[in-house]
Amino acid sequence: MEQVVDPTLAWIGWALVLTFNVLLTVIGTWLILRKRREG
């Protein structure tokens, strides 16, 4: 069966995963730094 291709979907998927990763990095680092400060 022929697959329908929507390139917008590709970039939206890409941008969503990218945003999630950036947020994860920032929030994760912030949490770890807070924990380190508390000793």
Binding site: V5, P7, W14, N21
Partner: protein, 531 residues
């Protein structure tokens, strides 16, 4: 070849001279760093781990250098060029965050455990963490086996691209490279290696980001890329391409089992790779500011090129070259990244890229070779024959470094045995799956035991060998690479936790040293003060 797209250029004198000058500069720098580092070690222990005083900048760039291998820098772009967006968009972007948890979870703990245990290698840290010489030996043998297989492929892309671009046979270039690598590894020890990998990491991070951003601007942005590829072959823009085979490597792009396995592969490789974790052995105690600096460096230097290498770079190469690169039967898609550099920036950017690619291959190979030689000298010979003199051990390291550099060189020029080729593909996944548990989870879980770790090493090694045959060696493949990753990671989890739960943990004294009990908070009631 199609005339509407660019073709592979004939090598010119400019390409030859530019690439030779770039590579020569890189190698001269490597030797200089090796000699500078010579002053910083006086004993065998310092040869292996330096003075444990590297700050966040050197450690951060070195981690980037160890992580950004020839595959990350070149192979990933080739894969997207050939197959399209499906699969790689997900795995690639997870690569961005993949390396950050390695810092979160392993940086401080690796340093602290190694220092408390007086260990100079990751393997020795594991052995002493579990009070087991047998575990240390088993880990050394398994690590040696996997790293050896992984190292064989390191020079291949660089050698191939060197030949395709300059027209010069790669023999002399690679021979000079490994000779120089021997000099800085043997003379500079851990410090020289750390410095060289750091410089290389910063350099390839810069070149990778330059190429990626330049290519995006040149292509006219994401919309223009989509339009060009939709006109060429719409399936290149699919998030998941169900027309590709569901077994073998392409399972990563054609099924959800495969696509969801890609972040696990990237994550476990980044956290579990001994050559990544080893970068923290020589680190100083980090303040909070240092820790944040380390994260920021790695995020910028690895994140941007890695993310775009795995997505837009390959698509832009396809946009410019069509399928013309695939017509080159010998190097094919491996040429996507260097040809992209040539297509958008001419000879200058191509020479810069080629220099960075040689650096990427040489840097990662150096990190692997240094660990492999220490696996034999420190984790086997010194462990079982402690009276061996430092002088003999250092001499042995010199020989082993030469041997472990020569074998990948030989198999870059001569076709490696089929069996080795099959297993090479699974080496990275096997290493990641085993050591994410045996090394990193063991930093946090008091209940981990040597039995659990031994079973994990044995299972992971056997499963990776089976996977090499089932996914890459057998024709047709028995299963997909994504399914194999799930088998590897879940099997390692079961053996690690299961084995640990049914056996006895190390001594309480050791556990209290490594996992100090939390101090109870003392609250003074106002009425008690002064009594």
């Amino acid at each position: 070849m199609s005339g509407e797209f660019l073709n592979i250029p004939e090598p010119t004198t400019g390409m030859m001279i530019g690439s030779m000058i770039g590579t020569a500069c890189l190698l001269i720098l490597a030797v200089a760093l090796g000699f500078l580092a010579k002053r910083r070690w006086k004993s065998y222990d310092e040869f292996l781990v330096g003075k444990r005083d590297f700050g966040p900048w050197v450690t951060g760039f070195a981690l980037c250098g160890a992580y950004l291998s020839g595959w990350a820098f070149c192979g990933s772009t080739g894969m997207v060029y050939k197959i399209g967006f499906s699969g790689m968009w997900f795995g690639g972007i997870w690569g961005l965050v993949g390396i950050i948890p390695a810092i979160w979870l392993a940086a401080t703990k690796t340093r602290d455990f190694a220092e408390k245990l007086g260990a100079t290698t990751v393997t020795e840290t594991i052995g002493r963490r579990f009070e087991s010489r047998w575990l240390q030996t088993l880990v050394a043998v398994s690590m040696l086996f996997f790293l050896f297989m992984y190292s064989v492929g390191q020079l291949k892309a660089a050698g191939g691209v060197w030949y395709a671009v300059t027209g010069l046979p790669p023999f002399w270039c690679l021979l000079i490279c490994i000779t120089i690598a021997w000099i800085f590894l043997a003379i500079g020890g851990y410090t020289g290696t750390q410095w060289f990998i750091a410089v290389k990491g910063a350099f390839i991070g810069f070149v990778g980001a330059l190429l990626s951003v330049w290519a995006l601007i040149y292509a006219g942005g994401f919309g223009k890329i989509s339009d060009a590829l939709m006109a060429q072959k719409p399936s290149l823009m699919l998030l998941i391409d169900r027309s590709l085979p569901k077994v073998g490597v392409s399972e990563l792009f054609s099924t959800y089992t495969g696509i969801l396995a890609t972040p696990i592969i990237f994550l476990t490789m980044a956290i579990g790779f001994p050559h990544n974790v080893s970068r923290f052995l020589g680190m100083k105690k980090l303040s909070n500011k240092d820790f944040a600096t380390l994260i920021a460096i790695v995020f910028v230097v690895v994140g941007i090129p890695n993310m775009l290498d795995c997505s837009s770079n390959g698509l832009i190469a396809r946009m410019l070259f069509g399928t013309n690169l695939l017509a080159n039967k010998q190097w094919g898609a491996d040429l996507a990244a260097p040809m992209l550099a040539w297509g958008i920036g001419g000879t200058g950017l191509l020479c810069l890229y080629l220099t960075a690619l040689v650096g990427a291959a040489l840097g990662t190979l150096s990190a692997l070779v240094f660990i492999m030689s220490a696996n034999v000298s420190r984790d086997i010979v010194k462990l079982w024959r402690p009276q061996t003199s430092d002088r003999s051990l250092i001499g042995m390291n010199y020989f082993l470094i030469a041997l472990f550099l020569f074998l990948p060189f030989y198999w870059t020029l001569e076709r490696p045995p089929e069996l080795l080729v099959s297993f090479m593909g699974l080496a990275a996944m096997g290493l990641g799956s085993i050591f994410v548990f045996v090394t990193v989870i063991s930093y946090y879980w008091r209940g981990a035991t040597k039995l659990g770790s031994m079973l994990t090493v044995i299972f992971g090694t056997v499963a990776a060998l089976f996977g090499g045959w089932a996914v890459m060696g057998r024709n047709p493949p028995l299963m997909g690479l994504g399914t194999m990753e799930w088998i590897l990671i879940s099997g390692c989890a079961v053996t690690y936790f299961g084995g640990s739960l049914i056996s006895k943990a190390p001594s309480v004294e050791l556990l209290n040293l490594l996992f100090p009990p939390k101090k109870a908070k003392i609250v003074l009631k106002p009425g008690l003060v002064g009594e």
